[in-house]
Amino acid sequence: MSGGHSSYTPGTGIEKWIDARLPLPRLVYDSFVAYPVPRNLNYAYAFGGILAIMLVSQILTGVVLAMHYAADVGLAFNSVEKIMRDVNSGWLLRYLHSNGASMFFLAVYVHIFRGLYYGSYKAPRELLWILGVIILLLMMATAFMGYVLPWGQMSFWGATVITGFFTAFPVIGDPIQQLLLGGFAVDNPTLNRFFSLHYLLPFMIAGVVVLHVWALHVTGQTNPTGIEVKSKTDTVAFTPYATVKDAFGMVIFFILFAYFVFYLPNYMGHPDNYIQADSLKTPAHIVPEWYFLPFYAMLRAITFNIGPINSKLGGVLTMFGSIAILFIVPWLDTSKIRSAVYRPWYKLFFWLFVANAIMLGWLGSRPAEGLYTLFSQLGTAYYFGFFIVLMPLLGLIETPRRLPNSITEAVLAKTRSGGQPAGVAAAPETRA
């Protein structure tokens, strides 16, 4: 681990016996107790822990739901309603699971924005970042397939639209779509394989999470200043310092989660999904879940042909590209400064990027017509422009603010003096 050698000393005879055979207690101690973390982490850094606990929550509720669910087009919708009405606390399990998916995405988006703001993707953390993008992709696949399982109208038509994307690719498109569907249209084979994969993928996510945390513990965490840990005074022990701070962040997040589960359980869902799937009745507007809306907006923004690429393929490439581009972010950013705290221009464009993503999300829920399309196109242009143009360019032309020499210096300057150096004053890590 980044702190150097293991500081675990087995106390009792049993601990010594275990440590000589399978040093699991040593691993846990070194990773979650003695592991040094920067002392200036703010609550934006609590979302990694929140995501871990959301994954566990989703798996636990999901395993119990699967005991009562029937993956058959004739039974699925009614089996979900049986869970809601007759299974003990079934309504709670299902609302926890469906709202949990939304909360999972809310947390992962904050986590990603945190990474973009503090430059967490830069060397030596490129693999850490890429593993995170892989987790995001797996989450998206899992969430999409999970949404199909209740076999409501939006489940069915969402599956029809999204699997239809693949037909945009020449030659290989149709075979891929048929493989996904298990036939020529969304039907029982589709539901069965989606259920199977929906149960499998979370465990693959858990596997990649292990790699993600491993990579994190090799390089150590970033922090709001973006300066690497230089001495022991820059860090505190994970336990109790980070544990208790993360725990507080988690409880606050649970309050938000519980608020939706108990008071607004259907706020994030679509009313049409309480109508059983009907292949003969197309809903007026087919919209995906809210967490896919920005990508959906970008898909529909491409209304024109680009040379040999027709608008449909162009839209699909744009949508896939919007995720794929995240993989190369570590090499697009040319700035030597990590944290946006010391990069005035990057900071401005970052917040514009956030606003733009929220705007795209709203546009994704609108019909693709008139001004909505124009705004979607502008939003898409900014989304890609941020990565392709602004990130490389700003690193070359921007004059960063003065960096403190160390994390300790930054912290002490902030807490001890009223008149701080400009750069340090801008640090967002105010006392929590």
């Binding site: 703010n42 505190v236 409880v251 706020y267 929220i358 705007m359 807490t415």
Partner: protein, 287 residues
């Protein structure tokens, strides 16, 4: 953290301004040939089950059940609701048994291999008025009347900006009942000049997906006799059936909100304790 929040607020404001412009531009539409439905938004009613301490009004649910039984059930099924659950409306076990016995259900096959009909038991579900969706459609001008088990959650008029955000604070989850009430009281208006109403359909500016629907006005003043002294008006009927349908769609609503209150109290107290612990642990470290 403060900076992060400030930044988020600024980002949000930017979006609000951008969205306002788009929204206003999309608002205008032709009165005779509307493209956005419903033509009129539903009125927000007062519901006993709204809000964090919401609970069903059993008297109201009983009246709603009466309306469903005497009027709606002629065409609309409710196949996910079992007679046994009617005890939640305040009926005794014997009353539920007697209520169920008024219905006939098909059972079988018996030992001879024959299907037979018998009186319904509390464990049975409301029988459907038509044997299948095709029969329902054939008897109703080609439009099968939707099942009522989930209708109060399956219909909601889009809230639009900025209400979809303020709804989080007000805990607005009554779009379904509001819509049902609006639809049932929305008949009888004259369509705007120049509007073509397809034959066999009925103009209703509150209908969610078109300007008119196949169902004629189902409820009128005085149609159902109440024995608890509640006014026998269309408005009262519409609210009662809407409340009943909300119960049919979400029978565990009260339990959910009660549990929610306990969970919230626990989480807030727990958050306070964790925060105090965090303050003490970090007291000796500047950060």
């Amino acid at each position: 953290m403060k900076k992060l929040l400030l930044g988020l607020a600024a980002a949000g404001l930017g979006v609000v301004l951008a969205l306002g412009t788009v929204n206003a531009a999309e608002e205008a539409h032709n009165a005779a040939e509307p493209t956005h439905f419903p033509i009129k938004e539903p009125e927000e009613m007062q519901w006993s089950f709204a809000g964090p301490f919401g609970h069903y009004d059993k008297q109201q649910l009983q009246r709603g059940l009466k309306i469903y039984k005497e009027v709606c059930s002629a065409c609309h099924s409710m196949h996910m609701v079992a007679f046994r659950s009617l005890e939640e409306l305040g009926y005794s076990e014997a009353q539920v048994k007697a209520f169920a016995a008024e219905y006939e259900v098909q059972d079988g096959p018996n030992a001879e291999g024959e299907m037979f009909t018998r009186k319904a038991l509390p464990s049975d579900y409301f029988p459907s008025p038509f044997p299948n969706a095709q029969a329902a459609a054939a008897a109703n001008n080609g439009a099968a009347p939707p099942d009522f088990s989930l209708i109060a959650k399956a219909r909601a008029v889009e809230r639009g900006f900025p209400r979809f955000i303020t709804d989080i604070a007000t805990q607005y989850q009554e779009g379904g009942p509001d819509y049902i009430h609006a639809l049932l009281t929305g008949y009888g208006e004259t369509p705007p000049e120049g509007m073509q109403i397809p034959e066999g359909t009925h103009y209703n500016p509150h209908f969610i997906s078109a300007k008119s629907l196949a169902m004629a006005q189902p409820l009128q003043d005085g149609q159902v006799t109440y024995d608890d002294g509640a006014p026998q008006t269309l408005s009262q009927y519409s609210q009662d059936i809407a409340a009943f349908l909300m119960w049919a769609a979400e029978p565990h609503l009260e339990e959910r909100k009660k549990t929610g209150f306990r969970v919230m109290v626990f989480l807030i107290l727990f958050a306070g304790l964790v925060y105090v612990a965090k303050r003490r642990i970090w007291a000796d470290v500047e950060h």
